[in-house]
Structures are given as C-alpha cells and as structure tokens.
C-alpha cells in the first residue's frame, strides 16, 4: 500500500469518527450560545444511543430508532432546562448529574431488558443506517487522486454522515440569518436586553436546549445503530467531552466547529493507525499522546496562545428577572 492509500483510509475513518463529535458539538453550540453550559452532552449522547438501539431492535426500523434517540435526548434537555433555567440551579452540577443518570440508567435498564451485561440485542440490518454508495463511485475509483477520495471518503458513508455535514450550514444560517438565531445569541450575551425587548429569556433558552437535544439525539443514534449494531456499555466513552473541547477550540462558531471535529476525528483515526507502528527517526509514538492531544490543544487555545477564545458572556449564569 502506498502512502496515498494509507492517507485515504485514515481520512475515511477520520470522517466516520468525527460525525458523533460534529452532531454533539453543534448541539453544544446551540445551548452555549444561548448561555447554558452543557456538560451533560456526554450523558445525552449515551442515553440517546441506548434509546436508538432499543427502538431499532424492537421495531427493526432505523428511522424509528433515530426518533427514539432524539426523544430521549430532548427529555434530558428538558430536565437540564428545568434545573438550570426554571430553578436557576447550577448548570454544571445539573450536567454532571445527567451524565451520572445516563451512565447508570442505560446499564440498569439494558440489563433488565436484554440480560446481556448492559448490551442491547443485536440490531437487525434493516434497523441500522447502512452505508450508501454514491452514484459513480465504482467508476471513479480508477481516476487518480480524486477517484479514491470520492470512492472511499465521500461515498460509502451512511445517511447520518451526510445529515451531519448538512447541519453545519443549516446551523450557521439559523444562528446568523434568522430572527430566532439573533435572539438566541443575544440571550447568551445579554439576557437583560432580550428581556427588555419583551422576549422571554426562559423560553428562548428552553428552545435552544430542545435544538441541542435534537442534534445530540443524532449523535447517539449514529454511535449505536450506524457505527455499530448494538448499544454497548458506556459507548460514548468521553466523546461528549471531546465535542465540548472541539466547540471551545472552534470558538463557538459553526464552520470552525466542523473543522475542529474533523481535526479531532483525524487525530483519533491517526492514533488507531499508529498503534504499534514506529515512525522513522522518532521511533514508536505512544498512542496516549494522540488521545490527549485534543484536550491539550484546547487548553493551549484557552490559554490565549492561539488567538482568544471568548465564550458567550452570560454563559453559566442563571437569569433572574426581578431584582
């Protein structure tokens, strides 16, 4: 295999690994731009992965699975909203709590329903999102450079992958070109001003959390019934936090979010590829470096060494109407 083929195969796997990050980071984008910190992304992803696998297993329909994943994720969003918007609780504590609840419930319910040590049953093929071969992929394969790129990276993914990339311009359009988006960003920067304009801060924030729950549902569904064929214990494995890191790394902007997710997905794919291999001159590079790199990069960014990351001003602060 020559270097180009290796590169293409890493790139293909990078795209697949970055999809759950992309959905989750976009979810975080909506809630954080509205001023709600969402540490609970991880838990939402896990819970929706479980729900999607269960529903797809029972109904044998992938789209019902997706619907199940989205619904559960939105329910978690509502709990987060109820705690942090309605009751003005600490948003981080609420997120931590939801992560615990999701981690525990998925295993307890999974064991009670399927008796396979926390796994769900194997989802039948028609209950999964399988890969789509785009027209002309086989014909293009022999064209140099573009051919393999088209056949192995762009084609051959499942429908959720294309939806993920479609969500990027849609998110941008919603956030920057609609009245809803303007108000959402305003609520994250200066809720008092939004309130003065006669718009309900609480309802705006709830709506942003519903959008976040909706997007996070896709991420979980992708994990359990697109990337694999069942729910496995703790299958989100910290991806929610990497997505959070990607969101910060992208300075809370939609298109950079996509690039950051692709970068982190690439690091992940590269780490998998490098496992047990050695580089010329350097020797064997420990895979742990690649695993830690997204977090290290984010810290370096936060330190202000790569531009400045300015979070939404009202982020994490519960809004109190009467003073």
């Amino acid at each position: 295999m020559d270097y180009f083929d290796i590169f293409i195969s890493i790139l293909g796997s990078a795209v697949r690994l970055s999809i759950p990050l992309l959905f989750t980071a976009l979810a975080g984008l909506f809630s954080e731009r509205a001023g709600i910190f969402d540490i609970g992304l991880e838990g939402k992803m896990l819970a929706s992965a479980f729900a999607a696998a269960c529903v797809a297993y029972w109904t044998g329909n992938a789209w019902f699975g997706l619907l199940g994943g989205i619904s559960v994720s939105i329910v978690f969003s509502f709990v987060h909203g109820f705690a942090s918007i309605t009751n003005r609780g600490n948003q981080i504590v609420s997120g931590v709590a939801l992560n615990f609840v999701a981690a525990g419930l998925t295993i307890v319910l999974g064991q009670a329903w399927f008796r396979q040590g926390g796994r769900t049953g194997q989802v039948p093929p028609e209950g999964r999102f399988s890969s789509i071969v785009l027209p002309g992929a086989d014909m293009m394969r022999d064209v140099p450079i573009i051919g393999p790129l088209y056949a192995n990276v762009i084609s051959g993914n499942n429908v959720l992958t294309y939806i993920a990339f479609l969500m990027v311009p849609i998110s941008w359009w919603v956030l920057y070109r609609t009245r809803f988006g303007l108000r959402l960003r305003a609520v994250g920067e200066n809720p008092g001003a939004v309130d003065t304009a006669g718009i309900s801060v609480a309802w705006m924030r709830y709506r942003s959390l519903i959008v976040a729950g909706f997007l996070c549902g896709f991420a979980g569904t992708y994990l359990s019934i697109a990337q694999s064929a069942a729910f496995i214990n703790n299958m989100s494995a910290g991806k929610g936090y990497i997505a959070l890191a990607a969101l910060i790394f992208a300075k809370w902007k939609p298109v950079p979010v996509m690039l950051a997710c692709l970068l982190f997905g690439f690091l992940d794919a590269f780490a998998n590829f490098m496992q047990g291999k050695s580089l010329p001159l350097i020797g064997e590079v420990p895979v742990q470096i690649f695993q830690a790199l997204p977090y290290i990069l984010t810290c370096v960014l936060l330190a202000g060494f790569i531009g400045t990351a300015r979070p939404p001003k009202a982020g994490g602060v519960p809004y109190t109407k009467e003073r």
Binding site: F37, F82, G89, F100, G104, L244, A303, P311
Partner: protein, 367 residues
C-alpha cells in the same frame, strides 16, 4: 414578592431542605427499581443491611467514605473561593502516582509509619501539580476553570495510561499495574476500630487513611474559618469585587486555593492505592472525584456536612454492591443512578422546594 431573599432558620436550610431533596432523589431511584420489576422497599432494606449490617460491611462503607471525604473536601475548598474544581478525579488519579512512587521507593527499607508522611506529601504534591496548570490558566489567562479541569481529567487519564502500560508495569505481566508494595509501603487496616464496636473487619480494606481524612476535615475547618487565608478565600468566593477592593490578590488566592484543592484530591489516592490494593492500578479512582462534587454540595461545603454526606455515599456504594448480589435483577450500576439523582435533586434542583417551603413557613409563623 420574591421568596429568594426571605431568611429561613438554619434547621430548615441545612436540615429539612437537604433531607427533602434526598427523599425525592430516593423516590425517583425507587421508581427505576420498581420499573424493572423489583421491590424498592426490599431493595432499600437489602442496601442498608449490606452497608451497615455486619462489621465487614461497615468496614467497606467507611473505606468508600474515606475516599469521598477527600474528594468532597477538595471540591469544597475550591467552592469557598468561588472556583468549581471539576478535576478532582484527575487530581486524585495523578496523586496515586505520587503515592505509588514513594511507596515503591521506600517500602523495602522502612516501616509504614516512616513511608506514610512522605506518601501523603507525594500524593498531595502530584494532585496539586495536576491542579496547578488549570489554576494558573484561570488566574493569569482567564480561562474557565471548569473547562480546563475537565480537559485535565482526560490528559491525566492518558498520561497514567502511558505510565502504567509502558513504564511502571511489571515486566512480563499483562495487567497494567505496579508491583505489589511490601508492608513498608502499605497502610495498616483499622481492625481495632471495628473491633471496638464488637465487629469483625473481615476482608474490608478500611485503613489508616480514614484517620488522615478526619484530620484533614479538621484542618480544612481551621483553614476556612479560622485563618486569614481562609477569610480571603471566602471573601473572593462571595464577592470578587469586594476582595479586590480589600486588597486581596486574585491570582494568588486562586493559585493557593487550587493547589490545596488538588492536594486534598491527590491524598484520596492513599486510600485505594496504599490502603486497599497495595499497588497502583488503572482507573483506580473510579468516579470518586465526581462523587466529591455531590458530597460537597450535600454537605453544604462544611467539613462536618462532608463527613455525613461521604458516609451517605459510602453506604450507597457498599450497600449497592451487596444489593446486586442479593437481587440479580439490579446491577451495581444502580448506585450510579442513585448518585445521579442525588446530585440532581440535592445539587442542581436545590432551590426547587425553597419557594414553597418559604410560603409554608410564613403561613405557619404568621409573618
């Protein structure tokens, strides 16, 4: 009129409201148990018997309590200065490396009581080191401490993975762990403590670090309420602008607070590493750092409250483990659900009941 500013007597604020929140958390956990077809009351009974029924159960309960006291204190110290240290998990993990290095270096030559002070310092130093960079980033560069400490949990996890798989592993063994410490690197069991109450410790790993935890509770109380530094920390926590006006240096207090907080989290490692398994194992913290957040919240950031809350979570951990033996339908992860519920109701939803209680209180007292 808003109910948020109405003062309530201490017994309602610190007794009744946390208790009601706890009852709610248990109610919803009970619903989960009921939903999977088991009896919640029977489960609760088995849980309590498992945790407190025998000397060995109590020993296990207090063993878990020890870990949670350390992480709870770690979170509480930071909260007093208005900092949310969500990285106790990683700090405890790195603290384990400090404790293990001391134990590995000294266990051949000296008895445990010589090793112990060095191990305490080693664990605290490594824990503090892990908190130092997020603290510096918060103090000097304005990076949000919650985000950076989360990032450090993962960075430490990768680092420890590397250390255990590549560096500290016993050559020829498969398990990523250090060699077993000799008695000179172990903390003695507290069998006499259980025996004092007529029980037998059995296999329970309750060890000397329990006493260290209690001493730390006292020291934290002295620090927060009886020293100038503690006063400055609390001032910063309540009002950063007032602190700045009073000439309290923000970056200095943030650094010191986080180093203390990280050090306390690091000391947690003494309990599992030197007290129980006598070796450094992968992922030995097992979520105790996050439980510390719940413990600190429930204990209202006061050492006395933290001991009680840590005991509660210790009972949950040990009782939950026993419960999963007795009720095959319930896995050990039920504890994680209960923890989540407790954090949700006692932490995030702590003000949910307050308005109605204020109204009820006003009606009853006729104000």
């Amino acid at each position: 009129m808003t109910t948020a500013s109405v003062p309530l007597p201490a017994w309602i604020n610190y007794g009744l409201i946390p208790l009601l929140n706890l009852v709610l958390a248990f109610f919803f956990s009970g619903l989960v148990v009921w939903a999977i077809g088991e009896s919640p009351f029977e489960a609760l009974q088995l849980l309590l018997i498992g945790a407190l029924g025998r000397g060995e159960g109590i020993g296990f309960t207090l063993f878990y309590t020890t870990s949670f006291i350390f992480t709870g204190l770690s979170v509480a110290v930071a909260i007093h200065a208005g900092l949310f240290n969500i990285g106790s998990e990683g700090q405890a993990y790195l603290g384990g490396l400090g404790a293990a290095l001391v134990a590995l270096a000294m266990d051949r030559y000296v008895p445990w009581y010589v090793t112990m002070p060095f191990a305490v310092i080693g664990a605290a130093l490594f824990g503090a080191a892990c908190a130092a960079i997020p603290a510096w980033l918060q103090a000097k560069r304005g990076s949000h401490i919650v985000i950076t400490t989360i990032m450090f949990n993962f960075i430490v996890s990768s680092l420890m993975n590397y250390m255990l798989v590549r560096v500290l592993i016993v050559p020829g063994k498969m398990a990523p762990e250090t060699r077993t410490f000799l008695p000179g690197g172990q903390l003695p069991k507290l069998d006499w403590l259980i025996a004092m109450f007529g029980g037998k410790i059995g296999a329970a790993p309750l060890n000397f670090s329990f006493l260290i935890a209690l001493i730390m509770c006292f020291l934290v109380w002295v620090l927060i309420w009886r020293t100038k530094l503690g006063y400055e920390m609390r001032t910063l926590g309540i009002s950063p602008t007032a602190a700045s006006y009073a000439g309290i240096r923000y970056s200095k207090i943030v650094m010191i607070t986080m180093l203390i907080s990280g050090g306390l989290a690091g000391m947690m490692a003494l309990n599992p590493v030197m007290g129980a398994s006598a070796r450094l194992q992968i992922e030995f913290v097992g979520g105790a750092g996050f439980v510390g957040i719940a413990v600190s919240l429930m204990g209202r950031n006061h050492p006395a409250g933290i001991i009680l809350a840590a005991l509660l979570f210790g009972i949950l951990y040990q009782g939950g483990a026993e419960l999963s033996f007795d009720m095959p339908g319930i896995t050990r992860d039920m504890i994680v659900v209960i923890q989540g519920m407790v954090i949700l109701f006692a932490g995030a939803l702590e003000y949910m009941l307050r308005p109605s209680i204020v109204r009820l209180y006003q009606q009853l007292t006729g104000k």
